[in-house]
């Protein structure tokens, strides 16, 4: 008997007309056995979060529900509230919002306390979960002082203290950097392996989970387009954006028995089916940038007088008309460099030139008038009015922009009239980012800085952003962004700088950067290395692989 079943599930929000026919979910039908791992894929707005929330009665959205949700043989709505709280765990996307208490210990105790367990049991549970998650070193810490990845682990641990039978995770790694995301994913897989918990997870970045999923559920516009195991899904799928690179490669060959969906198995596949091709040696092209937009020379900076130098003898150049990506681990100094370039912090030593002039020569505020505009990590930060329309059409001086100009920008950035009347917090991640960009572009900046612009975005939004940034660079603007997302860098950037220990250890054109590296590189580059010349992105890999399909005569498996 299935553990979880959705039968002909239809759901519509009370405010009809929001989605097609007013329905957020149409005819969702799937079933899972106990211990299964379900990965839900789809673009933002496809109904993933709605479906996940419907599986957790306490936080189910209000609306009209048709169809059945069956949990352990009974209707989900008939499940007693205590059982629902204890047996179904839910992890939210934002690590900063979910926690309630100040200390890690209290947070872990929150759920067992609500369930009315005895103090001894609570202490025992906390001890066990702490050991499983490796939280011993931070058990007494303030949660606000932890990193995003640690916070999300604490959120997951807080939910696991009840040893739930079903664990639901709504894009848990979308706000995390790759290392933290990797660590979080490992723990989730370990939970599945060692505790036998049924797991339902929705993610945009499926690289880690795709290989381990028992079933894939693909949603688009609230419709269920596929519910299969990964191999069958890949065979039927048409190169979906969200597939990991290896899966896209196998998908284009319509293989019956796919090997594992990992980079190494894809590398084996390529090795077995293609001839070695010598790669062109890159001509050393250092100093190919002259720094006419931003030039940082021999910079030194530390946050406290006795503290370590966060920026230590750093040189950086960015040109107009080019897109420059800055990458590096957390704590390497990327964000500090951004703050220095945008004038929020001052160098202790060294020089910064913006548009040819020393940054210190710009009077207060002049730097941000028609020169630099910066998009923060959370675009909501720069909105202050009740409606998007009012916010973006008012300049910082309080005057109104010509509405036709505003409309032109909105059209260009794909912001519909409907969105303009909404409150900024009612817009999705991609929508608010585009609205914020309209607000910044109306200031007519020459240099656009973006701080981790791809956090939480689905692949379609990332592509739209990539196209937009390329257009802006073509207009002569200098675009500089910080990111961990190597695929986005491969698609978008012209130049890449890697920051490590406060220094720029590498600053190269993008292709050379990606082709030479083994960690700061794309999966496509690793898979195609030595076999396909200069492959950087997934699409380049697929097209090279397909065009040389019959190389050994047995390209078809």
């Amino acid at each position: 008997m299935a553990f979880i079943e959705c039968e002909k599930l239809n759901f519509s929000y009370p405010y009809a007309g929001d989605k097609s026919n007013g329905f957020a979910l149409h005819d969702i039908d799937f079933s899972l056995e106990q211990g299964d791992f379900l990965l839900i894929c789809g673009t933002s707005g496809s109904g993933k979060s709605t479906l996940l929330r419907l599986l957790k009665p306490e936080i189910s959205p209000n609306g009209r529900l048709d169809g059945k949700i069956i949990y352990a043989g009974k209707f989900l709505n008939d499940l007693p509230k205590i059982a629902s709280a204890a047996e179904i765990g839910y992890v939210f996307q934002d690590p900063n919002a979910a926690y309630v208490n100040e200390k890690v210990y209290s947070e872990l105790a929150f759920l067992p306390q609500n369930l009315g367990l005895s103090p001894e049991t609570i202490e025992l549970r906390i001890a066990e979960i702490c050991a499983f998650f490796g939280l011993e070193s931070i058990i007494g810490s303030d949660i606000c002082s932890l990193s995003g990845g640690q916070k999300q682990l604490v959120n997951l641990a807080a939910v696991m203290t009840a040893y739930p039978k079903l664990l639901i995770l709504d894009e848990p790694t979308s706000q995390l950097d790759p290392i933290s995301a990797e660590r979080f994913s490992d723990i989730v897989l370990r939970i599945r392996r060692e505790m036998g918990t049924t797991i339902i997870i929705s993610e945009h970045n499926t690289e880690k989970f795709f290989n381990f999923a028992d079933k894939i559920l693909y949603l688009e516009n609230g419709h269920q387009l596929a519910f299969d195991d990964p191999s069958l899904f890949v065979k039927k799928a048409a190169n979906h954006d969200f597939l990991p690179t290896s899966a896209k490669l196998f998908s284009s060959f319509k293989l019956d028995n796919c090997p594992a969906f990992t980079t190494s198995s894809a590398m084996n596949f390529v090795r077995g089916h293609y001839k070695n091709a010598a790669c062109d040696q890159f001509i050393e092209s250092k100093n190919h940038l002259n720094g006419d937009a931003v030039k940082v020379e021999n910079a030194y900076f530390s946050y406290t007088r006795r503290g370590k130098d966060v920026i230590d003898s750093l040189d950086f150049n960015a040109d107009f008309g080019r897109i420059h990506a800055i990458c590096g681990a957390n704590g390497s100094g990327k964000t500090t460099l951004f703050k220095l370039i945008s004038g929020l912090k001052t160098l202790r030593d060294g020089k910064i030139y913006i548009d040819g002039k020393r940054i210190s020569s710009y009077k207060s505020g002049a730097l941000y008038r028609n020169l630099i505009a910066s998009l923060p990590q959370d675009p909501h930060d720069i909105f202050i009015c009740e409606s998007v329309k009012e916010d973006i059409s008012t300049s910082p001086d309080g005057e109104k922009y010509d509405f036709e100009t505003v409309k032109t920008f909105c059209k260009r950035l794909n912001i519909s009239e409907k969105l303009l009347d909404l409150h900024p917090y009612d817009l999705s991640g991609g929508e608010i980012q585009r609205a914020a960009l309209v607000k910044l572009l109306l200031l007519e900046p020459k240099i656009l800085l973006l701080d981790e612009p791809t956090k939480g975005l689905d692949k379609r939004c990332k592509r739209q952003l990539s196209t937009l940034l390329k257009e802006l660079a073509a207009e002569g603007k200098a675009v500089i962004f910080i990111t961990h997302d190597m695929d986005f860098i491969a698609e978008t950037a012209d130049d890449v700088t890697l920051i490590f220990g406060g220094k720029a250890v590498s600053s190269l054109p993008v292709r050379q950067f990606i082709m030479q590296n083994s960690v700061y590189t794309t999966a496509a580059s690793l898979i195609g290395r030595g076999y396909f010349d200069e492959t950087m992105t997934d699409s380049e890999l697929i097209s090279s692989a397909v065009s040389r399909k019959n190389e050994r005569g047995d390209g078809d498996e």
Binding site: A98, L115, G365, S374, I382, I384
Partner: protein
């Protein structure tokens, strides 16, 4: 015997209330002097004062400022030291200033120890079972304060680099910071809504919440509680019956009562005794290893 900081938070709170209260409201020179000396000793013991030079310099500055400023405004007293523009600077006024500043410094030192020992968790513990919801609200408030400070700085940076901050005039600056507060307010509404959802998802208010009471009320705590109450009452009684008054004008006169002075000394030495015993035990057990 536990550490002083591990005592029941209600007991700790009463202790500090009485010590600080007595220091502030009884004018008696002896009590204030004892309070000052022992508070500084305790502060050193509890590692509250670590940068001795910096802190003592600060206290000295407080002492000097108050001692010197009182005679500038108050001209009562019999012994005139010298004249400044026809206004007398009297010894008694200076002595009064000195007395007052000593109590100020003592209170500052006690408060520092108090804030180090009374962590957020302890404050929540005070609410106990009866006012669990209030306690949770207090905990939530405390958890949000550093978050808001951090977000305020982030939003301020975002506003600045989006050209939203104008510091040309004072008025413009205030307007800009008001905008930042509005952004922060919006953010806080959203965040708190998400936190509420997270609490609901974990069964908040479904069942009577178990209180994790870490330890039972022990003999130590009872002893400290009784001592605090008894000594405080004694001092109040003596003070109300005018056995502990100190007056400076027209000339210096002070009472000395053996009993309340000794009792108060005992009271202020309670944290010291806990700490000494803890250190002694530590060194002894280490010596064995």
């Amino acid at each position: 015997m536990k550490k002083f900081s591990q005592l029941n938070s209600g007991v700790l709170f009463l202790f500090f209330l009485s010590v600080i209260g007595i220091t502030m409201f009884t004018q008696n020179v002896y009590l204030r002097a004892i309070s000052l000396v022992i508070s500084i000793i305790n502060a050193c013991f509890f590692d509250v004062i670590t940068d001795y030079f910096k802190d003592f310099r600060f206290y000295l500055a407080v002492f000097l400022v108050i001692t010197v400023s009182n005679p500038l405004f108050v001209h009562r007293g019999n012994t005139v030291l010298f004249y400044v523009k026809n206004t007398p600077i009297t010894l008694e006024a200076m002595a009064y200033g000195a007395n007052f500043s000593l109590s100020m410094i003592a209170v500052l030192a006690w408060f520092r120890i108090f804030s180090t020992l009374m962590t957020a968790e302890k404050i929540v513990e005070i609410y106990g079972k009866r006012f669990a919801t209030l306690g949770l609200i207090a905990a939530l408030t405390l958890r949000y304060v550093p978050e808001f400070k951090r977000r305020f700085a982030e939003i301020a940076d975002a506003h600045r680099s989006a050209g939203l901050i104008c510091e040309d005039t004072w008025f413009e600056k205030v307007k800009s910071y008001l905008k930042i507060f509005m952004s922060l307010a919006e953010f806080s509404f959203e965040k708190s809504a998400n936190t509420a959802v997270s609490m609901n998802a974990r069964g908040y208010l479904l069942h009577k919440r178990t209180q994790i009471s870490h330890r039972k009320f022990q003999f130590n705590e009872l002893l400290v509680l009784i001592l605090t109450l008894v000594i405080t009452v004694c001092v109040i009684v003596f003070s109300l019956t005018h056995k502990l008054s100190t007056s400076f004008y027209p000339s210096f006169k002070t009472d000395f009562s053996m009993l309340p002075t000794i009792l108060f000394t005992i009271l202020t030495l309670i944290p010291t005794s806990f700490e000494l015993e803890d250190r002694l035990k530590w060194h002894l057990s280490n010596a064995k290893n």
